[in-house]
Subunit: 411 residues, 2 copies
Amino acid sequence: MESVSFLSTLVVVWLAARLAAEAMQRLGQTAVLGELLAGIIIGPAALALAHPSEGLEALAAIGINILLLEIGLESDLDDLLRSGLQSMVVALLGVISPFFLGFALTRWWGLPALTSVFVGATLTATSIGITARVLADLGRIQDPAAKVILGAAVIDDVLGLVVLSVVTGLVQRGEMSIMAVAILLVKAAVFLVLAVVGGVRLAPTFVRWVDRMQVRGSLIVYAVLACTLLAVLAEGGGLAGLIGAFAAGLVLAKTERRAHIEERLRPVADLFVPIFFVNLGMKVDLAQLHPFAPHGGLVFALMLTLVAVAAKLVAGLGVYTSEVGRWRVGVGLIPRGEVGMVFAGVGLGAAVLSPDLYAAVVVMIMLTTFIAPIWLKRLYGDPDSHERGQASSEAPAPSDGETRTPGASGD
Amino acid sequence: MESVSFLSTLVVVWLAARLAAEAMQRLGQTAVLGELLAGIIIGPAALALAHPSEGLEALAAIGINILLLEIGLESDLDDLLRSGLQSMVVALLGVISPFFLGFALTRWWGLPALTSVFVGATLTATSIGITARVLADLGRIQDPAAKVILGAAVIDDVLGLVVLSVVTGLVQRGEMSIMAVAILLVKAAVFLVLAVVGGVRLAPTFVRWVDRMQVRGSLIVYAVLACTLLAVLAEGGGLAGLIGAFAAGLVLAKTERRAHIEERLRPVADLFVPIFFVNLGMKVDLAQLHPFAPHGGLVFALMLTLVAVAAKLVAGLGVYTSEVGRWRVGVGLIPRGEVGMVFAGVGLGAAVLSPDLYAAVVVMIMLTTFIAPIWLKRLYGDPDSHERGQASSEAPAPSDGETRTPGASGD
């Protein structure tokens, strides 16, 4: 059976992901970073212990949909709608400023408009998981700045997916015009509103129907089925499939079975989400970043990182409430994490990002994800404060090693 | 992204599997039967709504390993060792009689020796899940006959996997000799003993190490990792990979975290095990069974079914305890279910079974799985007795539709 070689790859992928994630988490970093590194190391460009395959792509596709479903399940729609003008202003600035700065840098660097739009879009992402994790570690999740950051990050998730949908549509058409952007923007907004409004209306009937099923595990299978179906529908409409998976999560979060679904989804996410990140890491060839690379290699990667950091600090300027620290908000929005990787993966798959640009974008994502926790801890005072020590090292390890905060899903 | 077509296939597979499984379960049949039927119907030979792909194979491979891990977790090693001479005698007869009768029929029918060995091996399987489910429905799980059946079925699982390993090894070598059989038999036995004895010794250290991990979901990922690793090792040694997955389950069942692992594994099994059966169903082309087919088509399928039924009734003759009904035991061992499908799938993959023989074997498996519950209920009296009515229709549906008995995993 040919399945052996696939299963051995899986053993390598899972083991490398787990060990690297564990190492990163112990260093005060996030699991995502470890999983990406694991992918780079075991991938064909380095040790060549594992190679991308159709089977791995299939598992990665399931993984990323499950991750978006989880993020949707954890986002409270009501909270989102009344998260306040302050978060909304920060979120809008946090999308607009990175998009235009990223686009400008890439265009100035001499790259095509479509590629520049994609790089700009990748810079808009905010990884709520990483910041939430750090704030929880610091015991500051109730801080006024934390509320603004988390509110803005959730809105960013939505805006980011809309941007991704628009950009995906542009890539499919292969052309860029104000008209095309406008149509895709309307399409994405209509899809999201229809899916969520329609979904929230239908969900109670759906859940009652599923509850009548007698075969084991109906709830989890139908939940994942709904998520996959919405992803396929979104993609069929020329949008990013992930917006569908996210909408499914938002809708299921409004049902009475939310906690149940989240609980059953967790082991599935634990198994398949890391495969997505390892698989993306495997496609990174760091050798592409030598300084004489066609697009400037590491030089471009570092400039991109600088712009990525600066653009989110600009978003912090949107803070007008006096008790909220502008720096804390700006720095809190810096990590691109898993959401950025989703953009990068789509860009590579659609050949809008060449291998060297992909490597540069991944380096930017990893650096922002690496810098933010360290910087945030500095802004909040001593990183080895009493609280943190208690939260992560002195407390006995919980039974299943589950020290993740609810918001830190999949990273 | 090409992942769309894969995700749409997945939607079709999951939906068809769920609906068919639910329908079968309500008809007093088992979910496996529904999943196989779903595969036949949506497959390329019928409606062509879904096609086999590398991605689907990958998910099926994970599914079947998870199923074997679950079966292993549910088998108590101590119970197995002291399940009594009575079960042991029945189990041995229940393996030997179908193997030789199946081999004899197929050989007499003019097929090659290797194919005949494979068909014989497929007949040895017993699906513990299906009989356990029926006995639980009837409220007769404590019946003396039930204990013998369940004990024998578990031993059959082990013997069946050893037989599968030997047969897989023979197929790989492409030759058949008493010597080769003896070597493979010893190899399989040594592997099983080494994996289980070594595993039971190492397991506590392993579980303690995993418990110290901080990344979310370490236990479930390392459990599945161990299962996949043992499967790869078994396959690397020329045995059936599934024997490794099963051994991992037996070992983990002996640790203090057994219940925890089982609970986390359940949603993963609910999602991926049905894909294995649908995928096998998709490969069945019933049109191959027309009476003028090269190997006799439906005629051979029905003769095979007769032999399959008769051979397990012979095993019932191994009952020497007076209070245990011979018929009940014999009929209880008839369903081939998921274990038989594993054999058939390996045979098709290795090209030992031609498409028409594969179709005939699947028909045999489905018929035995279909007949046994009806027959067993007759032997135990009125199928619509008070007890059964209460167990399956009057009682309010449990929250997650989980009416399956623990033993009925994945079917």
